[in-house]
Amino acid sequence: MQFHFSDEQEQFRMMVRRFFERQCPTSATRKLMDDELGYEPAVWRRMSSELGLAGVALPEQFGGGAFGAVEEAIVAEECGRSLAASPLFASSVLAARCIHKVASSADCERLLPALARGDRTAALALSEPNAEPSLSGITCTLTVDQDARLSGRKHAVIDGANADVIVVVARLAGSTGDAGITLVEVDPGATGVTVSVQQPLDPTRKLAAIEFRDVQARVLGEPGEAASGLRRALNQALIALSSEMVGGASRLFEDTLEYTKLRMQFGRTIASFQAIKHRMSELLLSVELAKSAAYFAAEACAADDPDLNYYASLAKAAASDAYMLAATEAVQLHGGIGFTWDADVHLWFKRAKSSEVLLGDASWHRERMILNLPAEVSARRAGQAE
């Protein structure tokens, strides 16, 4: 583990940050909140062609940028800071990553380059209503005979209403647990597919419910063998999400700090009140700790650490708590103004809340940590350590 970014990585971060600052100010975000697509195609094209971000998560052979998990985390963190709207998380991080980890080379060749170029977008249909966020809870059912037919319901499919291709996590009929988990590709226009937009709590994250009624599907990879590949892909997505979250938390922290230094009450800035100072110190601690957890997880991911389940869940649990704390404190310290629609705080508040429960909430990930304790944590160390 390096515990620092290289100069190249820092330069890459600043380039991405400047791009988002120019292209994705909150004025643009606000317009996109009411837009059905939810992002600006021209900006997405530039993100893809000029910066290569659409392929950030993919290897060169499939048109990707040959970036590592750390660079992907940097991009995600900057997305979280700016709330830049794009299909990046849904298509590049979630869907393309799952395809890459599960599908055959031929299918990767067929699907990924267009996604890596940003010419097409994909959505991952994973979450199901009233189910816990684990693969074993999947109920969407696939019957594989001459062809593969898919039935079931998904919800909260990010950018699901406008994707060119839908990738669905399903299970073979009659299977349970990890066994039988299969990734399939579905044409959104196929017979039996009903996509309906769901009103999101966070209007910067577009969601759709998708119902599949005996829909023709194309299996990616071996039927029933997708679980371990998906788990690796989802760990990486969790780390990207955690990075996005600590980016948002940092931004809220900085904006709030700046506001306390400007806002006067009782003839002095509210930053001069000791109670505010102490809370800002505690908030900084919480955000910086979550940041370290996300950075470590990204490095662990890049190093293919065998305990990635543990570190990814640790990062998500830390990010969930820190982001919600930052969001709550940001509204509170902005006072009445912080509760208005016109102030920007609520944009991140809503992102914090939706991120908190996306891909499993903090308590679910804490439980997952305990189920995946690394040996150096679960065993007594030789001698007494401090």
Binding site: S127, P129, N130, E132, P133, H155, A156, Q198, Q199, P200, L201, D202, R205, L207, L262, R263, M264, Q265, F266, G267, R268, F273, A275, I276, T328, V331, Q332, G335, G336, I337, G338, F339, T340, W341, D342, A343, V345, H346, F349, K350, K353, S354, E356, V357, L358, D361, S363, R366, E367
Partner: protein, 424 residues
């Protein structure tokens, strides 16, 4: 008549009952009936006898209210801030002001709004920078107010404005009644993060106040405003429940009830999300059970924390009310309600999130509980801000209840020299 009066409570119940027997008619017009109530003294018996009341004490008032409730009789207008206006006028208003306003407050013909808060002075009311200047027979007012509920249909506003910039901040304010229906006033709805627009911004541009609508003397604004706010606080403490427990048992049909329902619908509309703001603790256990999430140990722990906090906050409030009822010195428990409510709301939001799981991603009528859960998650942050932030509450508790030293003031000099937020 005072609480020590010889008239027993049962005599009072009998008298009120007799008058109602002779006068109550659900087919009367709402204003017509309330004028009768006003003239009789039964509509607001805690008010002075010379102003539509009977000088009744708390026990006697409760007796009258119970008599009204038992019969399902419509009372005088109480909703909104009109009674805060009335209480302020009863204490500080001139004879002419009482004459002009009190009756129409009770009949509901006039609605009121409160022009206190400003964008630059939220927690710091005495830092108001809205300016009132004498202009012949009038005052001319310029500035901006905010968080004004019902400003869009109010007839009259309670206005705090600065009339002297050369004296310390608390001493340069005056208190006015302003006619809201005039060109100098522009009311703009203020949308909140939960999508509701319960409040308004009010822009005052050479808005006029008649000389005789100054309440108290010039420079008395802070003192008069404290009267308004103390009544607001008392109401917030739930000592007076207003409509809440009146007339639930009786079938209500008749013209007067239709008119009352219309009135209430208008006045109460801004408050539709207030139960969600408080966290809807009532929904927590039922939702956990119905969703099956109560099987989740983390849900059980956090739900139990919420129920513990919420019940003990409620019991603490009842301890305060019991002490007040018995005329005992109130302990610290009376000052804690607002802060406790913030904790309850925050924990409720956590629990509702835990129960909802990925359903917390959705909002709107198609989402869980018809959107109620999403509204909770986006409304609870207001509890710790509105009506005095948690920070102000903690200051008040520390300084007034615990006797800890006050913050050193840096804004004691002439207001002109006090650093403040820029106004636009």
């Amino acid at each position: 008549m005072t609480q020590e009066s010889s008239a027993s409570l049962s005599d009072i119940a009998a008298q009120a009952g007799a008058w109602l027997d002779g006068n109550w008619d659900p087919e009367l017009g709402l204003v017509e009936w309330r004028n009768k109530l006003v003239d009789s003294g039964w509509g607001m018996p805690e008010w002075p006898a010379q102003w539509y009341g009977r000088d009744f004490g708390a026990a006697e008032v409760r007796t009258v209210e119970q008599e009204f409730a038992r019969r399902g009789v419509v009372g005088v207008a109480r909703a909104g801030i009109r009674l805060l206006a009335a209480a302020t006028l009863l204490e500080h208003g001139s004879e002419e002001q009482k004459q002009q306003f009190l009756r129409r407050i009770l009949t509901g013909e006039d609605t009121w709004c409160q022009l206190f808060s400003e964008p630059g002075s939220g927690s710091d009311l005495a830092g108001s920078t809205t300016r009132a200047e004498r202009d012949g027979d009038h005052w001319s007012v310029n500035g901006q107010k905010v968080w004004t509920t019902s400003a869009q249909h109010a007839h009259w506003g309670l206005l705090v404005a600065r009339t002297d910039w050369e004296v310390p901040k608390h001493k340069g304010l005056s208190y006015f009644i302003i006619d809201m229906k005039q060109n100098g006033i522009d009311v703009q709805p203020l949308k909140q993060m939960n999508g509701h627009a319960s409040f308004n911004q009010v822009f005052l541009t050479n808005a006029l106040v008649r000389s005789e609508h100054l309440v108290g003397a010039v420079g008395d604004g802070w003192k008069v405003a404290m009267t308004t706010l103390s009544h607001e606080r008392r109401r917030a403490d739930g000592v007076r429940s207003g409509y809440a427990d009146i007339g639930l048992q009786v079938e209500k049909s008749g013209r007067i009830f239709d008119e009352e329902r219309d009135e209430l619908a208008t006045v109460m509309e801004p408050y539709s999300w207030y139960p969600q703001r408080a966290g809807r603790v009532d929904l927590a256990a039922p939702r956990a059970i119905e969703s099956g999430r109560i099987e989740e140990p983390a849900v059980r722990q956090e739900l139990a924390r919420l129920l513990t906090m919420s019940a003990s906050a409620e019991w603490t409030a009842r301890r305060a009310r019991a002490a007040q009822r018995l005329g005992k010195a109130q302990g610290p428990e009376g000052s804690l309600g607002k802060l406790a409510a913030s904790h309850v709301a925050r924990q409720a939001s956590r629990v509702h999130t835990l129960i909802a799981g990925s359903d917390a991603l959705f909002a709107g009528p198609q989402s869980v509980e018809d959107g109620i859960i999403a509204e909770i998650l986006l409304s609870t942050p207001a509890v710790s801000i509105a009506g005095g932030t948690d920070e102000i509450q903690r200051n008040i508790i520390a300084e007034r209840v615990l006797g800890m030293p006050k913050e050193a003031r840096v804004d004691g000099g002439p207001f002109r020299d006090v650093p403040r937020n820029p106004t636009n």
